[in-house]
């Protein structure tokens, strides 16, 4: 599969990356591991005049344990994070979601920043340009119809990061740096809630760090998938339990990770949560698996995680 023509630029530091962005504007995009971007470019889903490679910014590869939080550079590899002792000791949900991400070879290449900023996916969107134009442009491609759900007026492509649902349960925040300076905000605020443009980043902003408060938790991540490796999630459920409260994160059933907090893991409360999650989640007929089945699996994966946490707490 042939790539279209573009200019390749490599930045040695953040300032240089921003300067290059200023030069090319919205015709440019940032590249880290490339495991999401390069296939998108090959399929002509991303069309840009310039690709700015961030891998020269070595400072963003580091993972540092601070007093109150784990400070993760956005270029840290999924595989590297999986082996991190703080992740292992404090954040079992994140450890499990990293482990579930794709496969080892792609974990060695893919970065956590790229994983969080991967675009939303749909069976009718992640296809070649020829395939897509034959079908007629959909809402996410700038057309006026949805090819997954006839008559739909809103795009429901799935945000398919395994790690985002786990990170929101851990209260993670992010730091971005852009032409107008740096800003920090909760990871939950990174999402627009719209599948067409899933992130609220301003033009040229670079995700530089992810911070996770250092608080010990019990938890896990369950992923619904067809194959045991490589696949994107068809539903992802994360659970992190702290003293007295538990947070659930749901992924791959809509444009963002959904977060719910409960103060007890008693059956009645969990039933309520599962009902609430089933209502909020928006699984659509846009994956290889039936959306009704994906929705019905929500309470089942929730229960599986609760059982796991209860066993660990014993």
């Amino acid at each position: 599969m042939i790539l279209p023509r573009f200019t390749y630029l490599k930045a040695a530091n953040i300032e240089e990356a921003l300067d290059l962005y200023r030069e090319y504007g919205e015709d440019a995009c940032y590249l880290s591991g490339g495991t999401d971007l390069v296939p998108r470019v090959k399929l002509r889903l991303a069309k840009q005049r310039a690709v700015i490679d961030l891998k020269g910014i070595k400072a963003l590869e580091s993972v540092e344990e601070e007093d109150e939080r784990l400070n993760i550079g956005a270029l840290a590899k999924i595989f590297q994070l999986k082996e991190n002792p703080v992740v292992k000791e404090y954040f079992p949900a994140f450890r499990a979601s990293l482990e579930s991400t794709s496969c080892e070879s792609l974990q060695l290449r893919g970065t956590i920043g790229g994983n969080l900023l991967q675009n939303t996916r749909c069976l009718f969107y992640n296809q070649s340009e020829f395939w897509r134009t034959s079908k007629g442009l959909c809402l996410k491609m700038g057309g006026d119809k949805c090819n997954a759900i006839p008559g739909a007026t809103v795009c429901l492509a799935n945000y398919s990061s395994d790690n985002a649902p786990a990170l929101v349960t851990l209260g993670a925040s992010v730091r971005v740096v852009g032409p107008l300076g740096p800003r920090e905000f909760p990871l939950t605020d990174l999402y627009s809630g719209k599948s067409g443009r899933p992130f609220v980043l301003n033009a040229g902003e670079i995700l530089t760090h992810i911070f996770i408060p250092k608080q010990k938790s019990l938890g896990g991540y369950e992923k619904l998938r067809i194959r045991g490796a490589i696949d994107y999630p068809l539903l992802g459920v994360a659970l992190s339990s702290f003293n007295g409260k538990s947070r659930f994160g749901f992924g791959a059933v809509g444009p963002k990770p959904y977060l719910f907090e409960v103060d007890s893991l008693e059956q009645g409360r969990i039933q309520e949560l599962a009902t609430e999650a089933r209502k909020s989640a928006r699984p659509a007929p846009n994956t290889v698996m039936d959306p009704v089945y994906r929705r019905d699996m929500i309470p089942i994966l929730v229960q599986k995680l609760i059982t796991k946490v209860a066993e660990e707490a014993r």
Binding site: M1, L3, T7, G34, T35, V51, D53, S105, A229
Partner: protein, 155 residues
Amino acid sequence: MEKIHVTFTVNGDLIETDVLPSQTLLDTLRTTLELTGTKEGCGLGACGTCTVLLNGEPTRSCIVLAAEADGADVVTIEGLAHGEEVHPLQESFMANGAVQCGFCSPGMILTAKALLHRKENPSKEEIITSMSSNLCRCTGYKKIIEAVESVRDNG
């Protein structure tokens, strides 16, 4: 479109060449360097067929730009044998019947090589996890796992 001058080693040989920004490492290996042992499968980074070792790590060369490989050390399947003497993994794949159509074999063997380099004595489960990075459409996984176990046990 302006070409980019890149320098990297491939199977120990220093390569200096000019590449298009839109050229993948896979294109460069197969077309420019005529190292056709690396195969193209899906072309989208999903199947692992085009796996090479990039600085020792198993990497899907169809989604790596040649420009990104500047300064790197690349090993392809051609770099494993010494003349007529094949690598123990290649020997084991043959002895264990782990090759059916053979299209996935270069990627499989390089993924296994990286694992055995990273971990001296991986468990069967660890071998399965690592080898799950690569798809085999002939469904020959059992013998592939056995071939890797055999090298782990016997070198």
